[in-house]
């Protein structure tokens, strides 16, 4: 079952934790103000005498000062101003805390937003150790991550509520966002800037693994796709390379090297396909290949006319891409 935590109030990382700290100031102070104003309003209604429409207006007040009421109003404005200053100070301090996340030994990922999927390139000083995956990030618990955000077509926005606040992916304006996951788990994120047809189906899962698990995962991702072990899977690979699949997708270790769609080198190891639209099961994969426009109308993946036995072969090949 797909899922994952996505709750501003359930932080699992330093950045989200700092923002929840701010929320714990904002919520009580604002609640206090709301309740105080409502009590004042309620008391005003309760104590003021009732009148009819033709009650003579109290025009004497036009030329009269009302010092007692004036003092109360001034005091209320002063208290409001003071509370706003408190909130401003807490907000600025939270901003500082967010900017001061220690970034030694950080993991670097370049995340590119496309309509409607994410491409993640794990950077490494040694270029041969870089690798690319899609729609799913694995990060080590306790180690800071610096994500470079690139908008490829329109504006998208990176948002994984349990880990960090948003940052937009703006074409022509690359930027970065840093976070650190402090607890292992699956954290769900989703594009937060309206980006067209399938803005709704552009999820990004972040899986925080203990460092050893992460290292094993990364090592596996670096490897090229395994040679298929069955005849059917081999036929599936040949079909993949001969048909239009290879015009958009890449599978390392084969001649498919296009970068217009998610890298499928280790597609079977992911939780979901189609940017979170479907759980990654064999039957979902075949359904997706047959008619992606039914599942995610408007997606750039075309519907293909594939014979059933070819579909089975393709499916077997994809299942081998662990």
């Amino acid at each position: 079952m797909i899922g994952g935590l996505h709750d501003v109030q359930a932080p699992a990382g330093a950045q989200a934790q700092a923002i929840v700290g701010l929320w714990h100031w904002l919520l009580p102070i604002c609640t206090f103000v709301f309740v105080a104003v409502m009590i004042a309003l309620g008391m005003a209604l309760w104590r003021a005498p009732r009148a009819g429409t033709d009650t003579a207006p109290d025009v004497a007040l036009l030329s009269k000062r009302e010092p007692r009421v004036t003092r109360v109003v001034i005091a209320a404005v002063a208290v409001s101003t003071l509370l706003l200053l408190v909130l401003l100070a807490v907000s600025v301090m939270t901003d500082r805390a967010l900017a001061q996340l220690p970034l030694e030994n950080a993991l670097h990922i370049e995340l590119t937003g496309y309509q409607w999927w994410w491409e993640a390139r794990y950077d490494d000083p040694d270029p041969s150790r870089m690798f690319t995956t899609a729609n799913e990030l694995h990060v080590p618990v306790g180690r800071p991550v610096i994500v470079t955000l690139v908008g490829a077509d329109v504006i998208h926005s990176f948002w994984v509520p349990s880990l960090a606040g948003k940052k937009d992916l703006i074409p022509g304006r690359d930027t970065t966002v840093s976070f650190r996951a402090d607890r292992a788990g699956v954290y769900r994120g989703q594009c937060a800037e309206f980006c067209g047809y399938q803005h709704a189906k552009m999820a990004l899962y972040v899986i925080a693994d203990p460092p050893d698990d992460y290292a094993r995962w990364a090592e596996r991702q670096r490897a090229p796709a395994a040679e298929p072990s069955t005849d059917e899977a081999r036929r599936g690979r040949d079909l993949f390379l001969a048909r239009s699949c290879a015009m958009c997708h890449a599978i390392n270790g084969t001649t498919a090297q296009a970068r217009h769609a998610p890298d499928l080198t280790h597609v079977a190891s992911r939780m979901t396909i189609a940017a979170g639209a479907l759980e990654n099961t064999p039957s979902n994969r075949t359904a997706w290949i047959l008619d992606p426009q039914q599942i995610k109308p408007g997606t750039k993946m075309p519907s293909e006319n594939i014979a059933p036995q070819d579909l089975a072969a393709l499916s077997a090949y994809l299942a081998s891409l662990q």
Partner: protein, 669 residues
Amino acid sequence: MSAGSGSLSGLGSAASPQVLRERARVIVGRGETMLDGAGWGSQAERALHEAWRDEPGLLGFLKTTDHKRIGRRFVVTSFAFFVAAGILAAVMRMQLALPDNHVVGPDLYNQIFTMHGTTMMFIFAVPIMQGMAVYLVPLLVGTRNTAFPRMTACAYWLFLFGALSLWTGFAINAGADAGWFAYVPLAGPQYGVGKREDIWNNLINLSEAMGLMVAVDLATVILKMRAPGMSLRRMPIFVWASLVTSMMIIFAMPSVMLAANLAQFDRTFGTHFFNPAEGGDVLIWQHLFWFFGHPEVYFIFLPGLAFVSSIIPTFARRPMFGHDAVVLSLIATGFLSFGLWVHHMFATNLPEVGKGFFTAMSLLIAIPTAVQIFCWIATLWTGRIDLRTPLLFVLGFFVILVLGGLTGIMVGSVPFDLQVHDSYFVVAHLHYVLLGGAVFPLFGAFFYWFPKFTGRMLDERLGRWQFWLFFVGFNVAFFPMHLLGLAGMPRRIYTYGAETGWGTLNLIATIGAGVIALSVLLFIVNVVRSGFNGARAGDNPWHASSLEWATHSPPPAFNFVVLPVVASREPLWTREADEPTHVSGLSAQTREGLVTTVLDALPDVRYSYPEPSIWPFIAAITVVGWLFWSNMTETGMFYGLIPPAIAFVAWYWPTRKETVEQLLLERKP
């Protein structure tokens, strides 16, 4: 100027009546030239009726320059679009009621939420507030029409055609689909294919032209045509709010018009203002849009505050506590609202230190609103309360606006906004602020001024039902959205999976939306029923203090049979026997008004209003034609300008009748 028996008479040294009459007979051929100042039932009143009458039939309908007819049209038209956009909201709520729902698909959903936002902001909220002001301001300042009535007439037609073209586009599957904010590149030539965004850009041009024209007109009336004696210190708060709003519109709207035209140049001519690949910058759009977009929130909100400030003193039976503080707060809000726009862009890569400034500004703007809220509570506290439906809506406004304002303080903080920006938390916040701050007071205002508009009272019992349904439905619909936002639900998604856990709260919100729909339906029933059968209102059913209540309900075409003179802030509550009550000496046979000085409203010069004309209507058609022609072909951008040029020349072409009349009425000092 001399104060005669109860009147200020004689503007300039008049020629002797005999000479005037003679000249009138010769030149105009209307018999006697008559001066106003004689009160209801006089011969002057009949002359005024004759001078201000619109010709009957369709032609009169199209030519009218009566600010009340135009204001009413604005209100009725934009309310119709409010209902239409509300129906779209109901469709969205039905789609989102359940996970993986299939009421509408992504393409239609994206059009629907774009149409909902665009309609509510550009076709409902701004025009209805301006329409209320067009109707009320000339009455509140005691004059006979707006300063440039033909321009206001033209503004209405531009607005109507713009709105209709947007909705026609939607009906033929060419509805704008890039959001009411139309961020590039999604709305640009590469990703916003088809004519959808062209139509949206046209609407922006037309509705902002409307806004600017009305704003210039209102600001002029307010500054130059107030009743003698209505110095700035005595100006009603509603008029102050209209002035501040008009000034804000004049400074804010050019920004979004510029942006829409740059975007349209990108689309039509292949310029690269917003194309990063060719040295353009997509963030420029956001700056230009929000430099307008944030003040826009406040020029929807300030009229709402002004309705509240009009209703509370009447139903608390006392003058406003802290009148000056409230006025200064409105002005302060107007200025501060221009320093907030970046808080819509906290998630972009603008410099962090700069964002801190906008947090401070976003918190600061809460103070003038707090001042007003405390002054209203103080007014109620020290008043004697008549709890009628208008006041009920104001009380609902308190609850909802204060809550929305407080969540506004939350989202004004950069770090917190990074979490809830573009989430349902913001959807909740903006509806609390805009419905709480504008629509609740607007319904209060409808109940308050309906007697003036129609001469009949709205039904109180239906009004109470409507209020409670609206209040409860609103909170059921929108409060859960705060929680959805905190639970990670982004805005503008057409569906969500069951695994997200957002289903229950969405279902509750949808139920609330249904209750809101019911309450709006009750209001429409109430308006139709009371419009035909409501109790007769009389001139001043609430015993209120401002000048609109000094004339008949509904007011005659010329508003006041005598132009009032004002000696206090609450003119109808403080009539002293020995003060002059009205001006006399304006022509009753032509459309004449009085221009007064800006600060003290001393009589300055007489002013001849233009006659009704068909040309504002024709000019509006030609402008709309030009815009659509220019969307189709580049050459249309140039040749399409010829018809508007002709129409505008014809508009200003003087008529012999006007020239003769003005010569006749001219006085040498």
